[in-house]
């Protein structure tokens, strides 16, 4: 493959690729994001290929990036009609090929059926999960094989780079990014254009651009899916950034726990280099820029920009005070611009379509779209990309499909360990950097965990404190000792050893940790516990004063027993109990031996719903 040494060469290649592709061509796109791979989509892809060959069918089988509707994987889209199938198994392959690919027939059982209305969706846009989204960044995932640069070029990839290099000056690109008010998608929400400007104008060479792919928030996988599904979009963004800032060396710092994303990134970088879109004299423009991949060592704190840069330098990832900004002295003490994966992926869109278009989406202070990982007690879990300004209620109900099992919404946690829990009363808050912060939470990197009545908010606070106190770098006293003590207090509360004054102490200590810590990890760490104390104070007080856990979660405060009136003696729970704690015979009422019960909930889950004889009190 010859290197593309001019923009004309790129356009010629693009035309050739598009010309080769018949839009009416039959194809089966199988989602190959990590979630669907875990469901067996690799085997599914092989099965499709094998069966198609056996049937002598001329159909392209294309593994693609994450489609986002992880709840319903493995996902398959049949082209050219774009018929959407969910929960496709290997046993369905033959039928899909014969009926849908071959004859255009829709297989009902593989369609998405709305649990409430019973409506079936034929095409992706009809699925309520997708209908309310605006998939600017993730939308391409389904159309391309992430390991094929030609697929990316075929859908318009690297047009923005070509435009920036040959039609725009560095100042003009900067103006666009500034005007678009692209705010950091990694959690900080800091205007990317301001960072770029600071770095461009800083004194010193060489200058570095970094992609923060350390995505450490528990339950967050937005960046993972962008990198797995469309790695070239990130690369293109970085090259445009490097051109604007004046950098020749870039880094992608990716957490080692993302092997698939790492693999796809490496393939993409190599093919970009082969095509002259990375490396020396990019597209014959004279720009030299290459990207090196650094892997993280498993520390959440290395997602903090100064710690990340130290980690690249080979030092211990401890953040430093940022009175001198990273754009002036960052990596190796040189001007460095760091942005999140999703932020970089937005750049080509802004360059192609202009800041005016970007600003038409979103709210006054938060422009564009944001990808959220919607998880927890919600029907439709997965990745959603929505315009800023959509309400939390719409995300949870219209896209998420509400709480499963007809449960009641209790809270939504946004922003990962740096964010807070918002109760039902705040569901009409728009998704917006400043609004969420004002409400005591944070946009964060996009984690969104939905909770129902079976979630104990004290337990949630304890969970996040436990995560953070171990992930804290341990340098500053407030974060290291403060989080430890906050955890101790919430732990005592969950074990029924809460005391009067604990909540006041939590508030006092949290204030100090938030105000006096060195970096944002400590600065935002009290958010989960503070927001839950604020919005669910009654639940805390029940734990402290009555030694009760209303949600039935805290093991020391709950008791499992069997309602004699409902139990039919079916023996199911007895068989499943891991500690032999259930006494009973067939057709006779069972009893739980409290001395052996480990409160694992297996009996509660196992008892058939029609009897629901296990009671938590």
């Amino acid at each position: 493959m010859a290197r593309l040494t001019s923009r004309e060469a790129l356009e010629r290649l693009r035309a050739e690729i598009v010309g080769r592709r018949d839009p009416g061509r039959k194809a089966v796109a199988v989602c190959a994001g990590t979630g669907c791979v875990a469901y067996g989509s690799v085997k599914l892809t092989e099965a499709f290929r094998g069966e198609a060959e056996r049937l002598g069918m001329d159909v392209e089988v294309r593994p693609t990036g994450c489609h986002g509707f992880c709840e319903r994987g493995p996902l398959v889209v049949v082209y050219p009609q774009k018929i959407f199938y969910q929960r496709v198994q290997v046993k369905d392959v033959g039928e899909v090929l014969e009926r849908t690919v071959g004859k255009g027939e829709v297989i009902e059982r593989l369609q998405y059926t709305d649990p409430v209305s019973g409506e079936r969706a034929t095409y992706e846009e009809e699925v309520p999960f997708y209908r309310h989204q605006m998939r600017l960044i993730l939308g391409s995932n389904g159309q391309i094989d992430p390991t094929s640069i030609e697929d990316y070029i075929g859908i318009g990839g690297y047009t923005a780079l070509s435009k920036a290099l040959f039609e725009m000056s560095r100042e003009e690109v900067l103006e666009e990014v500034l005007a678009a008010n692209l705010r950091g998608r990694g959690g900080g929400g800091f205007p990317a254009g301001v960072k770029w400007k600071g770095c461009k104008e800083a004194e010193g060479t060489p200058k570095y651009v970094i992609c923060n792919a350390d995505e450490g928030d528990p339950g967050a996988f937005m960046d993972r899916s962008v990198m797995e599904g469309n790695p070239h979009s990130v690369i293109e963004g970085m090259v445009i950034g490097a051109y604007t800032i004046g950098s020749e060396q870039g880094y992608i710092y990716i957490r080692n726990e993302y092997p698939l994303a790492l693999q796809r990134l490496r393939i993409a970088l190599e093919s970009a280099r082969e095509h002259g879109l990375l490396g020396r004299d990019i597209l014959g423009s004279g720009l030299d820029f290459d990207i090196r991949v650094n892997r993280g060592g498993g520390a959440f704190v290395c997602g903090e920009s100064s710690a990340l840069m130290l980690s690249i330098e080979g030092e211990v990832g401890e953040p430093r005070a940022k009175h001198i900004h990273m754009v002036e002295a960052g990596l190796f003490n040189k001007p460095t611009n760091l942005n999140n994966v999703e932020t970089w992926a937005n750049v080509p869109h802004i360059v192609n379509r202009g800041s005016g278009w970007f600003c038409s989406i979103g709210t006054e202070g938060s422009k564009g779209t944001k990808i959220f990982s919607l998880v927890g007690k919600v029907n439709n879990t997965g990745l959603v990309e929505v315009p800023m300004g959509i309400t939390l209620r719409d995300i949870v109900y219209k896209i998420g499909g509400g709480i499963p099992g007809g449960g009641k919404f209790k809270a939504v946690q946004t922003g990962g360990p740096s964010g807070g829990c918002l109760p039902e009363g705040l569901l009409d808050l728009p998704v917006d950097f400043d609004e969420l912060t004002r409400a005591g939470s944070m946009m964060g990197s996009g984690g969104m965990i939905v909770m129902d009545g079976a979630t104990c908010m004290v337990d949630v606070a304890k969970y996040f404190l436990d995560f953070l106190r171990f992930e804290s770098c341990g340098k500053c006293v407030t974060c290291r000792e403060g989080l430890k003590r906050l955890w101790e207090i919430t732990d005592r509360i969950t074990r029924g050893e809460g005391r009067e004054g604990d909540l006041e102490l939590i508030e006092e200590l949290s204030e100090c940790v938030a105000e006096a810590s060195l970096c944002a990890l400590g600065g935002t760490a009290p958010n989960p516990v503070l927001s839950t104390v604020k919005h669910f104070r009654g639940e805390y007080e029940a734990h402290i004063r009555e030694k009760k856990c209303p949600a039935g979660v805290c093991k020391d405060l709950i008791r499992f027993s069997i309602d004699g009136e409902k139990c039919t003696g079916c023996m199911v729970c007895k068989k499943k109990c891991p500690s032999d704690a259930i006494i009973g015979e067939k057709k006779k009422v069972h009893v739980i031996d409290q001395s052996k019960c480990i409160k694992c909930r297996v009996c509660y889950e196992a008892c058939p719903k029609k009897w629901a004889a296990v009671v938590i009190s």
Binding site: I324, E471, S472, C476, R480, E515
Partner: protein, 251 residues
């Protein structure tokens, strides 16, 4: 010298741009507590005791002063209510973390109004993880014998892999430690620290113990001093220089 003008509670001062605010405040006699700051080592910002409020333009922020570079036009506020309450809480956390360091911490706690320690303090730990020993060993002495291992509340101080290693026995770590957490034992001929026993060199004339042999090795390899400098103790070297002088002067 690039001088910048700044104020401390309205009082004007001048400093070199980028100088440590804490260093400058102390030069002018202001009292700001700290435990992890040492004038000759890079600021670390671990203990959080040197908090001040800095007003810059319209922004006011609480910050540690040791690692805050002095800038033109800032106004520094000491001992504001925000500073005071954060400092009290920090001291309370320190007392709970290091009950074995009570002596220096108690004095600070009394001074800054810590009423009680509301967190359980279990053992006899004295180390407050301030990092001074690590920094003096790596930046000053350059023996790189000490390090932090672990993270968060499991962070620990010690030699790499907790094994005796490249320590030269100079004892600077013990000197800079603000809570006397590092033990150095001496007898006539050896010094013991960090699980290592260091043989002390002896003066060739009077036999007095001078420095650990390992430290001599280290200084010889890292400076231009030859080993001959270390043969005599300072007293005998003075004798020797007097002898030489007298010989030269024919006395």
């Amino acid at each position: 010298m690039a001088g910048v003008k700044y104020t401390v509670m309205g009082q004007e001062h001048e400093a070199e741009r980028g100088a440590s605010l804490l260093g400058e405040l102390r030069k002018h006699g202001y009292v700001v507590p700290s435990l992890c700051y040492h004038e000759s080592l890079t600021a670390y910002g671990a203990c959080r005791l040197c908090l001040v409020e800095v007003r810059k333009g319209k922004r006011e922020r609480l910050t540690t002063s040791c690692n805050y570079p002095v800038q033109e036009g800032i106004d520094v506020l000491l001992d504001t209510p925000k500073v005071a309450r954060n400092r009290r809480m920090v001291l309370e956390l320190l007392l709970a973390q290091a009950p074995g360091a009570s002596q220096p911490l108690q004095a600070l706690a009394r001074r800054y109004g810590v009423k009680s320690v509301r967190f359980p303090a279990k053992d006899d730990e004295a180390c407050i993880l301030c990092g001074l020993c690590v920094r003096v060993c790596s930046e000053g002495i350059r023996a790189h014998a000490l390090t932090f291992s672990g993270r968060g509340d499991r962070k620990k101080l010690g030699t790499p892999y907790s094994e005796p290693g490249v320590c030269v026995g100079c004892g600077s770590c013990a000197h800079v430690c603000p809570t006397d957490a590092i033990s150095v034992e001496h007898d006539d001929r050896t010094r013991r620290m960090w699980g290592q026993s260091f043989e002390l060199a002896r003066c060739a004339t009077c036999g007095a113990s001078t420095m650990p042999v390992a430290q001599i090795d280290h200084v010889v390899s890292s400076t231009r001093l030859s080993r001959s400098y270390f043969e005599l103790c300072d007293e005998c070297r003075r004798h020797q220089s007097v002898e030489r002088f007298n010989t030269v002067m024919g006395r």
